[in-house]
Amino acid sequence: MDQILQGLREATNLHEIVTKRELVPQINLFEFSAKETAAKTKPGQFVILRIDENGERIPLTIAGANVEKGTITVVCHEVGKSTKQLGTLKKGDYILDLLGPLGKPAEIEKFGTVLCVGGGVMTAPLHFQAKAFHEAAHKVIGVIGARTESHLIFEDEMRNVCDELYVATDDGTKGYKGLDFLKELLKKTKTDRVIVMGPVVTMKVVSELTRSHGIPTIVNLIPIMVDGMGMCGACRVTVGGKTLFACVDGPDFDGHLVDFEELMSRLKMFTPQEKLAFVLQEERGGNL
């Protein structure tokens, strides 16, 4: 039976969920079997999933890869129809498609002291990078944030790979309130490079702060994508006055050159349709 399943899986390229863990409500960690992808994955890259035949293409940043086990890890925040549907899947379930790794890997060179700032769900893939910096013998300063204490993820994991770790919440329930403390931190610590992964506003605010210090700042852009391989242009972003495709030219870009306003506006392009899909799904009691 196992053999038949194995054969079927290979023939149809199905990907099994080998681990599922709820980190905090609405944020789940998934480990998918994806042997070939795992072998090629580097921090900073992403995958595109499709749950079933009618599914849309869901881009998710890779938060870890296990070459021996042949698995990759992603952490997904339920924000709409497709991510919610993914949240209903259990260990042992399969998804139809998994494409990746996509995008250019993050640059993990000898930079010196690296400040890694992660917001919300993107703290998980940030950890994958912070870990690589740590293993490459950089000094890593971590900053992780969430709306409120109960939404914080990957704190212990980050602590393990950071020389210093700061925590911030929007409402001040844990650590610093907001990101204002970064001003002081940047003044007192010599920082050679800043990596920011998280909501667009976080990337924008941090880039503004580092600009005056002249610290190279890399932001991880996640615009709306369709194919993820350079064929549609949905993911186009303006960087230094030039139009680039985040899926193939990025997803990492120089934060001091990105047009964040345009990115925020483009992320809302399909809001009415997304809401409709979400409401219909809720009416069906979340069953699809």
């Binding site: 070939e36 090629k40 009618n54 549609c232 242009g233 349709q273």
Partner: protein, 466 residues
């Protein structure tokens, strides 16, 4: 006494089509195909010319008079076999080839009336066969050689089928989740039903070809890594990189590349939203920039998705449109408005970042350019604005660049196309290429023609290798 010859009909037998009113409300195929009576009546118009100018116009040299003769005699099974001797994807070619520029352009009947509708005849016999189930006849001995094909468009699929028939082990690596290339992600359902493309892909699988979807070569494996596991490789990655106009306002919401629009609608079935998850937004006033097949397909999809007013904005005139004539006619019947000699200058947004208007300028035709077509020149002072809430940019596609960027030693032109000899051989031993990735955007049949030649060259290469 010999029987008097029946008079040759000058007019083509019309194609049964869905009524324009009706069809702009669905995505079903517009042209419904000939009946047996109609197909025989159309075949009767063929003069069986000895020199067969039509065959010379066909890029893969189908024996046109021979298969038409078999249709006349209602020997459809033999007719399709005759077509398939030269063309392995006839159900597709019968629907999307620009016959009026190829076989039908030189048809003798065209001098005294309408040319014989060769494409429709080809379509009939291939549909006739598919409805009865595609049969595999030959099962060759395996050669033990393995070939990797990158890209499952018409070029890659042709190479795959031809090499499998010769007994080679073939694995196709395709980045998207379905095979077919432009046939599945670009050309809409109402022009080429996806079940036809799927049937052709199934047939190729039955020949023994393994299809590996979701495999982006360049990232998952490089060409060099494929050559470690395979005896040869073929690159058929097509021209899928959308060109933009590089004018202000192009990144406003509501501005799509034709590829984004068509991928959402066709590959991801956004026309069936919310049953299918991928969303699409189409406003009331749509402008499609460009004059080719891609522009025409975008226009007609927009109409079907409920747009009230759809305009083609093209900087040249009707005569220069690089489109199948039949599709322009179909689009006009459906109510598409053609704005010739017009070009956008900038897109104007509202306070929420959505496109609301487009500043255009009128053009006139000047001296012929490198393509031999008269170059459009702006008429200064003729600027005007056009209200729009959706813009689709269909001004062309350039080669997909990932393979070229990640393959050491692969010779590439300044346009990003891969350099090959006339048989598809690239600068790397054992690596061949063909289709749009070599020629730049072209046609289905030219991609297939290139695939056929490359398959022959790969076969010779494999058999000469120890």
């Amino acid at each position: 006494m010999s029987k008097p010859k029946p008079e040759i009909k000058k007019e083509v037998v019309p194609m049964p089509k869905q009524d324009p009113e009706e069809r702009t409300r669905n995505f079903n195929e517009v042209a419904q195909g000939y009946t047996v009576e109609q197909v025989v009546a159309e075949a009767e118009r063929c003069l069986q010319c000895v020199k067969a100018p039509c065959v010379q116009g066909c890029p893969v040299e189908v024996d046109i008079p021979a298969f038409i003769q078999l249709i006349k005699e209602k020997r459809f099974a033999e007719a399709i076999r005759k077509v398939k001797e030269k063309n392995s994807l006839p159900a597709i070619c019968g629907r999307v080839c620009p016959q009026e520029e190829q076989c039908q352009a030189s048809c003798t009947m065209g001098k005294i009336g309408d040319p014989v509708s060769i494409g429709r005849l080809e379509r009939f016999v291939s549909d006739w066969e598919r409805e009865r189930g595609l049969q595999i006849t030959e099962k060759p001995d395996t050669t033990g050689k393995r070939v990797a094909i990158v890209g499952a468009g018409p070029a890659g699929l042709t190479v795959a089928a031809n090499l499998a028939k010769l007994g080679h082990g073939v694995m196709v690596f395709e980045a998207l989740h379905k095979p077919g290339g432009v046939l599945i992600y670009g050309i809409p359902e109402f022009r080429l039903p996806k079940k036809i493309v799927e049937a052709e892909a199934e047939y190729i699988k039955k020949l023994g070809v393994t299809m590996k979807m979701n495999a982006l070569i360049g990232r998952l494996y490089t060409i060099g890594e494929l050559l470690d596991r395979f005896d040869a490789a073929f690159i058929g990655t097509g021209a899928g990189l959308p060109r933009f106009m590089r004018i202000p306002g192009e990144n406003l919401c509501g501005v799509y590349s034709a590829n984004e629009f068509l991928i959402r609608v066709n590959l991801m079935k956004a026309y069936d939203f919310p049953r299918c998850d991928t969303p699409i937004f189409v406003g009331e006033k749509v402008a499609v920039i460009g004059g080719g097949n891609t522009a025409m397909d975008s226009t007609r999809c927009a109409l079907r998705l409920g747009a009230k007013e759809v305009k083609i904005v093209y900087r040249r005139s009707r005569a220069e449109m690089p489109t199948r004539a039949e599709e322009v006619e179909n689009a006009e019947e459906e109510g598409v408005v053609l704005e010739f000699l017009t070009n956008p200058r900038r897109f104007i947004g509202n306070e929420r970042g959505w496109v609301k208007a487009m500043e255009c300028i009128r053009m006139r035709l000047g001296e012929p350019d490198a393509s031999g077509r008269r170059r459009p020149v702006p008429i200064e002072g003729s600027e005007f604005t056009m209200d729009v809430d959706t813009v689709i940019i269909a001004i062309g596609r350039t080669p997909n660049p990932i393979i070229q960027q990640t393959t050491k030693g692969l010779q590439v032109t300044k346009w990003g196309t891969i350099v090959t000899d006339e048989n598809g051989k690239t600068s790397i031993q054992g690596v061949y290429a063909g289709g749009d990735i070599v020629t730049g955007q072209a046609t289905v049949i030219s991609a297939m023609g290139a695939g056929k030649k490359a398959a022959k060259a790969i076969h010779e290469y494999l058999m000469s290798k120890k």
